[in-house]
Assembly symmetry: C2
Homo-oligomer: 87 residues x 2
C-alpha cells in the first residue's frame, strides 16, 4: 500500500466536511546507537511550522502536534487546519 492510499483511507474515515488541511509527518529512524543524541525534533518542528506560516496563514490553535515513539522510530505528526481565506 502506498502512503498516498494510506492517507486517502485516513481522509475518508475522518473527513466529512470539506476543509483545507495541511499535514506534516516527520519520521526519524535512528540507527540504533543514536538514542543518546539530543532530540532536535521539537525544535525542528517549531521551525517547520514557522516556514509553513510564510506560505499559509495559520493560527496556533489550528495546529495539532502528536509525537509517537517506537523502537528506533520517532514520528512527529503536525496537523494544520487552514482557514478558508489564504493570505
Amino acid at each position: 500500500m502506498s502512503l498516498l492510499s494510506f492517507l486517502l483511507g485516513e481522509k475518508k474515515a475522518t473527513a466529512s466536511v470539506a476543509k483545507e488541511r495541511l499535514q506534516i509527518i516527520l519520521a526519524h529512524e535512528r540507527a540504533g546507537r543514536g538514542a543518546s543524541r539530543p532530540d532536535y525534533l521539537p525544535a525542528l518542528q517549531r521551525e517547520l511550522v514557522a516556514v509553513i506560516s510564510k506560505y499559509v496563514s495559520i493560527q496556533p490553535e489550528d495546529i495539532k502536534v502528536h509525537l509517537e515513539r517506537q523502537d528506533n522510530l520517532e514520528v512527529l505528526e503536525v496537523k494544520i487546519e487552514l482557514p478558508d481565506v489564504l493570505r
Copy 2:
C-alpha cells in the same frame, strides 16, 4: 491502523541495513475549489529541506523527493538518508 504502525510496516519491508533516515511527508488536502491556487508545495519543500539541513548535515544526493496527487490530496514525500556522523 495508526500512522506509526504504517511507517513501521514500511520500514520492516524495506530497511535491512541499519541506517539513519529522516522522512518528511507533506500532505495537502484542498477543499475542492482550491485547484486554481498557485501550488506552493515545491517552494515550501525547498525551504523545509533548508531548515532541516541546519540540524543535520545532508547532501543533495541523499534527498529523494516524490510527489503524488489524487483527487484533492497532494502528498509530497521527502526521504533523506543521513550520514553516519552528524554535525
